[in-house]
Symmetry: C2
Subunit: 290 residues, 2 copies
């Protein structure tokens, strides 16, 4: 591991300068590891950066709160932004380049091009956040074209997003290796998320029920439960036991197609999205076929 402090982190906001910098790095034979984020960095992000440092000779971190992946009425304006703290974290951990593009330069007047992954963007969060994955797919492709990384790093917490990005890379013939890293959790199991900052003390306690539901899922699979609805019922019971949590969905599905399973037979994904007050939180767990 090579997470020593780096006093030379360069901050770049211009798209042209970022691209030119990346071309120069490639011409010098550097391997570029890229960690795209929306900032409000937490240990989930830093685990990606640490891994990118291990795998590559140059690490680029982007922070961009992407307007096109928020649906109307969502938290685009209020999304946690703490750029000074993020800069300190990135610099301390040894990021080489911090890319901070503006929304105006990313989406200039006349912008009309979107990337859409069909099918796997429809269930789960796609159902509750129409257009979200189109925004994610588009911004990730733009960032890839600007940064031209050899490898890019994504957390498994956003499971459906990870599937979408892997699909884009394959379908559009991008020469980028997608590396996914395990969800980092708080002591009580809550998945790290920038949105956890929204939670008040009472909500934060309730939020731990999400992970307890995941534990029940794992336990029931281990005990050879084959009927998804029985598992969903148990997960629901745990969540509903807490005050003020509203379930968007709990799905027991195929980890590749995201289609609901009728019977469990092989690898299985449990995916959940809830609302606690105004905060929407997601989590997931894959149990691989033995």
């Amino acid at each position: 591991m090579n997470s020593v402090a780096n006093n030379y982190m360069k901050i770049i906001s211009s798209i042209v300068e970022m691209h030119k910098t990346s071309l120069d790095l490639r011409n010098k034979g550097k391997n570029i590891g890229f960690v795209p984020t929306m900032g409000a960095l937490h240990k989930g992000h830093t685990s990606l950066i640490e891994r990118a440092k291990k795998d590559n000779t140059a690490v680029i971190l982007s922070i961009f709160v992407n307007p096109t992946q928020f649906t109307p009425g969502e938290d685009y304006r209020s999304y946690p932004r703490d750029i000074e703290k993020d800069k300190a974290i990135a610099s301390d951990i040894g990021v080489d380049y911090l890319f901070l593009p503006s929304a105006d330069e990313m989406y200039p007047e006349g912008f009309k091009t979107f990337v859409n992954v069909e099918d796997i963007t429809e269930p789960l969060c796609g159902k509750f956040r129409p257009g979200h994955f189109k925004g994610v797919a588009t911004v990730v492709l733009k960032l890839f074209n600007i940064v031209i990384p050899h490898r890019a790093y994504f957390g498994e917490k956003d499971y459906q997003q990870l599937l979408v990005i892997k699909r884009i890379v394959k379908d559009l013939n991008l020469d980028i290796e997608i590396v996914n890293m395990a969800t980092i959790r708080e002591d009580d199991g809550l998945a790290m998320s920038s949105r956890n900052r929204y939670l008040n003390q009472k909500e934060r306690l309730s939020a731990a029920a999400i992970y307890r539901a995941m534990e029940i899922f794992q336990e029931m699979i281990k005990n050879n439960e084959k009927i998804p609805q029985k598992i969903v019922n148990e997960m629901e019971r745990i969540i509903k036991n807490e005050d003020g949590i509203k379930i968007d969905y709990i799905s027991i599905c195929n980890p590749d197609t995201l289609k609901d399973l009728k019977v469990i037979n092989g690898s299985v994904l449990a995916a959940i999205a809830v609302r606690i007050g105004k905060t929407r939180l997601i989590d997931n767990c894959v149990v691989e076929e033995k």
Copy 2:
């Protein structure tokens, strides 16, 4: 010009091999000029190749009849294919690499990602060929990612396609220069097109009316006509004078937005699509603001 015969043209059908070859060319400091086509090469294509040879140190020509840009009921299966003749033309003119991917490798099972340019894909051919530009945008982006060219060459005959491709390059931050070249015409003005091969003798004679309609457009603009409908009426009169031509559309519109003009004031595009028998032909003409 450097269109001497080239006995060293390399034919590549594997996507991985094409990409590796392009990476090698870039590493050697070569500039890659790319001409994507659907084959049945004619003088329109060769003008693009000649220009690519002038501008670059390596020229890649692709021939791929792209299934996703044909709408149901169109001529995907019957589209002119003459690969042996195309190879000879490409080799004679000095193409360095001929890329011939298969549809199975371009669109493997599970393919789900599409690129869509909004707005400018809706009028003109977009209205008559739903999904066509989504197919074009997707395949062009795939080919760009495989071939990683410095410059790519497109004919102005497919005006709306050219606009879509320029939009993709800008919106998705692709580091590729798009070079457009004037439509090449037969002696009687008919725009060169692979689909002209479909025309029988009688149809071929009728087809010349398309260019005569373009000439009327230019003449009326020159004579300061400001009312689009009057120009459309004259163009229609010329087309309808011929037996067996059916008009899909005649549009007098803004060359950037493709929106129909109510009054002519500045640059103007005339775009036309007709059907002669089973053959669909298009043409266009831009008169720039003086």
